[in-house]
């Protein structure tokens, strides 16, 4: 039941989406076919799916760990941008060097950048009880302005014919492709490893237990000897670090340089992925692929039937609405099982 619901939500979104878009004057059935089926049926699109899903999965795994602990980091977009910026910073500093250490250094810098951006909400929440939802989100807007400032100002490529962008990274600063003849880069493998690693940690380790207790009952966590503030720090650093990782993998992979259009709403879309994946790392892999489907399919639908790109957001939101609405069915079963005792105690 718990894990069938997301599948049902995707299917219901297809049906409802076809209906709604037909009603408002688009080719609804065509839209659903292009968005949900074409990317699967056309093998040429599989590599697109993989590289769109990778950052979504990496970010959503981090977010889902935080959400489990009731830590609502919704500023992953900002942490993703900072990850990309930190990686770019290292790239610009190491242009005159060579060696296999450069790319790993960039990746580490990216993770650190994301962590640094997430450390602000963590500090404010643990020290001053400032709500992390608002601070992490506000920092996203700040990150966008920081990016604009850097690519228009100090980091602008002097040979770029006035375009606001950095120089192209060297070969040693770029992610290797792992499947010859495709655009699938090493980040896809990293995404899988991150998700599987998170699965193991969440299921088996004391850290995973701690996250679940803090989310389910903070008072019980304190009683059990877990620090609630420590958990806030850990989860924000992990989710920020993973968003930063996704950022640096994007800039060293598909982009190859920093550009103003780097913020691609992966950080927001990953929130949907996290919920659609039931805040479970393995679920997130499938959810990431499902959402990547709408992104890739949305591009196809835009060119083939002229469906505006914004429609993708509506499909994604619809999916999330349906999933959240279906939660009650899952809960209702639990409640019925528990009602015998509840009724008696009442």
């Amino acid at each position: 039941m718990l894990y069938l619901m997301p599948v049902a939500a995707v299917i219901a979104t297809g049906i409802l989406g076809a209906l709604v878009f037909s009603l408002i004057g688009y080719d609804g059935v065509g839209a659903v076919r292009e968005i949900f089926l074409t990317p699967i049926l056309n093998p040429l699109k599989w590599q697109d799916l993989a590289i769109k899903a990778a950052p979504l999965i990496i970010i959503a795994v981090g977010l889902s760990i935080g959400y489990r602990a009731n830590v609502w980091n919704i500023g992953a977009e900002g942490q993703y941008i900072l990850g990309g910026l930190a990686g770019t910073g290292v790239a610009l500093l190491t242009r005159d060097f060579s060696g296999p250490w450069i790319l790993p250094l960039m990746v580490v810098a990216g993770i650190a950048g994301g962590m640094a951006w997430a450390a602000v909400p963590a500090l404010l929440k643990t020290r001053l009880r400032v709500n992390e939802i608002l601070t992490s989100l506000m920092l996203t807007y700040v990150a966008i302005q920081l990016l604009n400032y850097l690519v228009i100002g100090p980091w602008k490529d002097p040979m770029g014919m006035g375009f606001p962008q950095t120089v192209r990274f060297t070969a040693e600063q770029t992610l290797p492709r792992i499947v010859p003849g495709t655009i699938i880069h090493a980040g896809v493998l990293v995404a899988l490893l991150v998700a599987l690693g998170a699965w193991f940690v969440m299921a088996r380790s004391v850290f995973g237990f701690q996250v679940r207790v803090v989310g389910a009952a903070p008072n019980a966590a304190r009683y059990g000897g877990f620090s609630v503030n420590g958990t806030v720090w850990l989860t924000l650093l992990v989710s920020g670090g993973l968003a930063g990782l996704a950022g640096v993998l994007e800039v060293t992979g598909p982009y190859g340089r920093m550009v103003p259009s780097f913020p691609s709403y992966y950080g927001f879309t990953a929130i949907i992925v996290a919920f659609l994946g039931r805040l479970h790392p393995v679920g997130v892999i499938f959810a990431g692929l499902a959402i990547a489907l709408t992104v890739v399919g949305g591009d196809i639908a835009q060119t083939t039937i002229g469906l505006p790109n914004a429609a993708v957001g509506i499909f994604q939101a619809m999916m999330l609405f349906l999933l959240l609405g279906s939660d009650i069915l899952v809960r209702y079963r639990f409640r019925r099982a528990g009602t015998a005792m509840v009724g008696e105690a009442a």
């Binding site: 709500n131 989100l137 302005q145 927001f268 949907i272 914004a310």
Partner: protein, 309 residues
């Protein structure tokens, strides 16, 4: 700087504050009932695109505002149905509403990109509106007067009316309110609907008051600032008014700085663009420093209502 420019800046400031004030007033009532609706930004975008489309096609801004309120209320009812009737997670559903509103406004706004409409100006006689001093009082859009009236109305409702007392009770202790015999869900539906209508009207301010051209995501995170403002104001309407105008000042600082020359020339424009968001964080920090250990938030804020019977 001349008094003329100063007055112009004050009028701009008040205009820039108005959408935040309206949205925050709505959210204040919602939160007082114990519901956290993070979909303000999304509802504002829905209001903005509706107001634009209706005003563009009919030329009637009043109708545009009315339809914006209706459309956002409809969206808020989706949120209410999920969180109140189906007890879905309020944080997640609010985020979903914002994502939905963003997509909705982009989709329906696409056809209007770059098209202009007329600013919804003051309806007072021209001699008052253009009077060098009296325009401080008469030179505002009806939306501004409406927002000021609503500050008072919300204060009166919460502090003086019985319905407001019941609404506060529901937000303070939903189980007790239920056991006395009040409809917790009913009260919260009404509050969320009010919040939706206010967010819609707040959204309509963007095309009608601030930027009379359609652009994607034109609310630029103001809905989130409104949420922060409610915390800043400690859930009090008049403090909300002060806070909103303070933010209006921050947002128009760039204008002010440019008019006076000096510092603005040194600092990059990106800094000024980021300033409102930095200011929001700063304000949240200050408010928690001043508060000694506890919060003034309604006790049931964000928690689903699950009666035991």
């Amino acid at each position: 700087m001349s008094a003329d420019i100063l007055i112009a800046i004050v009028i701009t400031l008040i205009g820039a504050s108005t959408p935040i004030l309206l949205a925050a007033l709505g959210e204040l009532v919602v939160e007082k009932s114990g519901v956290l609706n993070l979909g303000v930004e999304g509802m504002m975008l829905i209001g903005a695109v509706t107001a634009f489309a209706i005003t563009y096609n009919t030329g009637n801004p009043w109708l545009g505002i009315f339809c914006a309120a209706l459309a956002s209320t409809a969206a808020s009812m989706l949120f209410a149905f999920l969180t109140l009737s189906l007890s879905a997670n309020q944080v997640a559903t609010g985020l979903a509403l914002t994502i939905f509103g963003t997509g909705f406004s982009s989709l329906f706004g696409q056809a209007y990109t770059g098209r202009p409409i007329e600013i919804f100006r003051s309806v007072f006689p021209p001699e008052l509106v253009s009077h060098p001093l009296l325009r401080l009082v008469f030179g505002h859009s009806p939306l501004v007067y409406f927002s000021l009236f609503m500050v008072f109305a919300v204060w009166w409702f919460l502090r003086r009316s019985r319905a407001g007392l019941i609404l506060r009770a529901v937000g303070e202790n939903d189980l007790s309110a239920h056991s006395i015999g009040y409809s917790v869900i009913g009260v919260r539906y009404a509050a969320v609907a009010f919040g939706g209508a206010m967010a819609g009207i707040a959204g309509s301010c963007f095309p009608l008051l601030l930027t009379p051209q359609w652009a994607e995501r034109l609310t630029a995170g103001r809905g989130w600032i409104a949420l922060a403002l409610v915390v800043f104001a400690a859930w009090r309407p008049f403090r909300l008014l002060a806070g909103a105008y303070l933010f209006g000042l921050v947002m128009t600082l760039e204008l002010y700085a440019k008019a006076s020359g000096g510092a603005a020339a040194i600092l990059p424009s990106e800094f000024w663009a980021a300033l409102p968001y930095l200011a929001t964080i700063l304000v949240l920090v200050l408010i928690s420093l001043r508060r000694s250990g506890y919060s003034a938030a309604p006790a049931c804020l964000g928690k689903p209502f699950l009666p035991t019977n």
